[in-house]
């Protein structure tokens, strides 16, 4: 008798996803749908008016700019630090690897609020960053780092770094180190090996790392409110305030939908781009 692969719908294994599907429908899809409806509903039915009003205010473009710029910088910083760290982690000995994994994962159990307060101590005018910069002679006098964009990017990158390291690590540890050696025996320079062998192989990890960090930092709410304060609005701080303070559900849902659309577009776009780049090599 010939074994026939059961269709996806009849496969009883698919039922295992049922709890997750029900859970997501209730706590995610339904509120999301409500949010979408709210943002498109006006006194006379469906309308684009909230979006037109939002987009025609130059201040709101600044808010969108703030949101994307900070998220991009956080992602860049996380990538620059996280990519080499993932290699160190993947190639470390067993004991060292455990130590490194614990030191990457354990800080995740400390809330963002606590970390934000810690950054306040690090970044303040008599903090360690100032002391180092003045000790090196790079600064003549203490500079204010707290409540600046630089401070926000540094703090947020610290909090989101594990989300960059871990996906890259999970891919790097699967790469056979002999591949680069094989390349070298064929006369490839280390740089050539890296760009043509290692980097393409790590792209899936890089893409998920970037997607994680970017989505987390584009939507962060507590961290900017503690590290930069009320004078720097992002889409999520604007959304939070519309619901919590101004009781303006329409504005809140409009900004939330714009944020969601931007985040999804950038994550999906970068995944597609990486897929194309990866496919070429």
């Amino acid at each position: 008798m010939k074994l026939r692969a059961p269709s996806a719908w009849r496969d009883p294994v698919a039922l295992l996803a049922l709890p997750a599907v029900v859970y997501l429908l209730v706590v995610y899809a339904y509120p999301l749908l409500w949010l979408l409806m709210k943002s498109f509903s006006g006194p006379a039915g469906l309308t684009l008016q909230p979006y037109v009003a939002f987009m025609s205010d130059p201040f709101n473009w600044r808010v969108i700019g703030n949101t994307l710029r900070v998220a991009a910088w956080v992602t860049v910083v996380c990538f620059l630090i996280g990519y080499p760290a993932a290699f160190a982690l993947a190639r470390a000995g067993t004991v060292m690897q455990i130590v490194m994994l614990v030191s990457i994962i354990l800080p995740l159990s400390i809330g963002a609020v606590v970390k934000a307060f810690a950054w306040q101590i690090v970044l303040r005018r008599d903090g360690i960053v100032t002391q180092i910069m003045m000790g090196l002679g790079l600064w003549d006098e203490p500079q204010r780092l707290l409540f600046t964009e630089t401070g926000l990017v540094l703090g947020a990158a610290n909090i989101f770094l594990p989300f960059m390291i871990l996906p890259i690590y999970s891919v790097v540890k699967l790469i056979d180190p002999r591949l680069s050696e094989a390349g070298a025996t064929r006369g490839a320079t280390p740089l050539y090996c890296f760009t043509h062998v290692t980097l393409p192989l790590t792209l899936p990890g890089v893409v998920s790392g970037i997607a994680f960090v970017f989505s987390l930092s584009v939507s962060m709410f507590v961290i900017p409110s503690l590290l930069i304060g009320d004078r720097f609005q992002t889409l999520s701080t604007l959304t939070g305030r519309s619901f919590l303070l101004m009781r303006n559900e329409q504005l809140g849902s409009t900004t939330a939908v714009i944020l969601l659309a931007l985040a999804v577009a950038i994550v999906v776009g970068s995944t597609w781009l990486a897929g194309r780049l990866g496919g070429k090599t």
Partner: protein, 350 residues
């Protein structure tokens, strides 16, 4: 139109279900009680003083049990809205700005001297909208400062604008209630008009307020952070700070003190009201009567570092006795605040 409405109805159904679930959870407590019981809704942070100061007095005198449900003002408002036909709260302690929508929706019952005799002893300006709510305390707003960083205490609200405090001044965001004082004071400093008039001139207020920007360390939304910065010496002063918070920190030994500027101080909201159609109306009136009576007032004001609203109650030691107390027109605030916050975002942005 139909679709959004269907969503709204669904949401309402879910809210109602959630309300029913809450009620079901609360039910055993109500069933167990044998004596008369009075449910008071209020801020979570008030639970301590309600249960240790107000409740014992009322319970002893009236042989009843006070159940205090501590949450946020807006949640109390929602509880009253949801249970409009069958209220279970008898008394609400909410911020004045939240009282206004509650009055507008007919959720509150006026407090009259017939029901609450002690209302006659209240200071002027503490009875609002013909007795729809009264203030049972006056926490006040001054300037909190770090005495280690500032050798001389600030003496005027204008000090926060002094260029020598570049990058050292902390302001509350305008979305925090205590942040409103800076706006009104800016108008007062800029126009020189009397406060009731000045606080209506919001345009002048913003034009003055933007000049403080070089001095700003930050505008906070989370108050503990502001005190953290102040106590570490990164910030020198919090312009417009709540007496209760600053003095609690001082008492705990932190390098914090609060100055009473020469122009005057602002009264912070602290309202109490009768819920219309709430159970045990006589007991509810008695609760408020005790709350604004001299015995409870004396204890309450010293524990909360606030001014009593009963004029027969002595002002506790360490509190300003003859400072000008500015009232805030909460109706005006409620009507205009979203526009002010919008302008604040634009004008005060980095």
């Amino acid at each position: 139109m139909t679709k959004p409405r269907a969503i709204a109805l669904n949401r309402r159904t879910i809210l109602a279900a959630a309300g029913a679930a809450t009620a079901a959870l609360a039910a055993p407590r109500i069933l167990l009680a044998q004596a008369k019981e009075l449910v008071v809704g209020g801020a979570a942070s008030h639970k301590n003083f309600v249960e240790t100061i107000i409740a014992p007095v009322v319970e002893k005198k009236y042989g009843c049990k006070i159940v205090y449900e501590g949450t946020r003002s807006l949640v109390n408002l929602e509880k009253m809205q949801k249970n409009k036909d069958k209220q279970y709260l008898s008394v609400v302690q909410m911020d004045d700005p939240v009282m206004i929508p509650a009055v507008a929706e007919g959720l509150l019952e006026a407090i009259t001297p017939g029901k609450v005799p002690n209302i006659a002893a209240l200071k002027p300006g503490t009875i609002h909208m013909d007795g729809m709510w009264v203030n049972y305390l006056q926490p006040w707003l001054g300037i909190a400062y770090n005495p280690k960083a500032m050798k001389t205490a600030p003496t005027s609200w204008a000090d926060a604008y002094d260029p020598k405090y570049k990058g050292r001044v902390i302001l509350p965001s305008l979305q925090n209630t205590e942040g409103l004082a800076n706006l009104f004071m800016a108008a007062f400093l800029a126009t020189g008009k009397p406060m009731p008039e000045a606080q209506k001139d919001i345009d002048a207020a913003f034009k003055k307020l933007v000049t403080i920007k070089p001095n700003l360390l930050t505008a906070y939304t989370q108050m503990p952070q502001a005190y953290n910065l102040l106590e570490q010496g990164e910030g020198f002063m919090i312009s417009s700070a709540i007496s209760q918070v600053a003095l609690e920190r001082k008492q705990a030994g932190a390098p914090v003190d609060i100055a009473v500027p020469k122009e005057g101080i602002f009264a912070m909201p602290s309202g109490v009201a009768l819920v219309k159609g709430g159970p045990q109306p006589e007991l509810a009136a008695a609760y408020i009567n005790e709350m604004i009576g001299p015995e409870v007032q004396a204890k309450l004001s010293s524990v909360t570092f606030s001014l009593p609203t009963n004029k027969d109650t002595p002002v506790p030691a360490g509190m300003p006795t003859n400072a000008t107390m500015f009232g805030v027109d909460w109706k005006f605030v409620a009507d205009n605040r979203p526009d002010w916050v919008k302008r604040w975002d634009r004008d005060m942005a980095m």
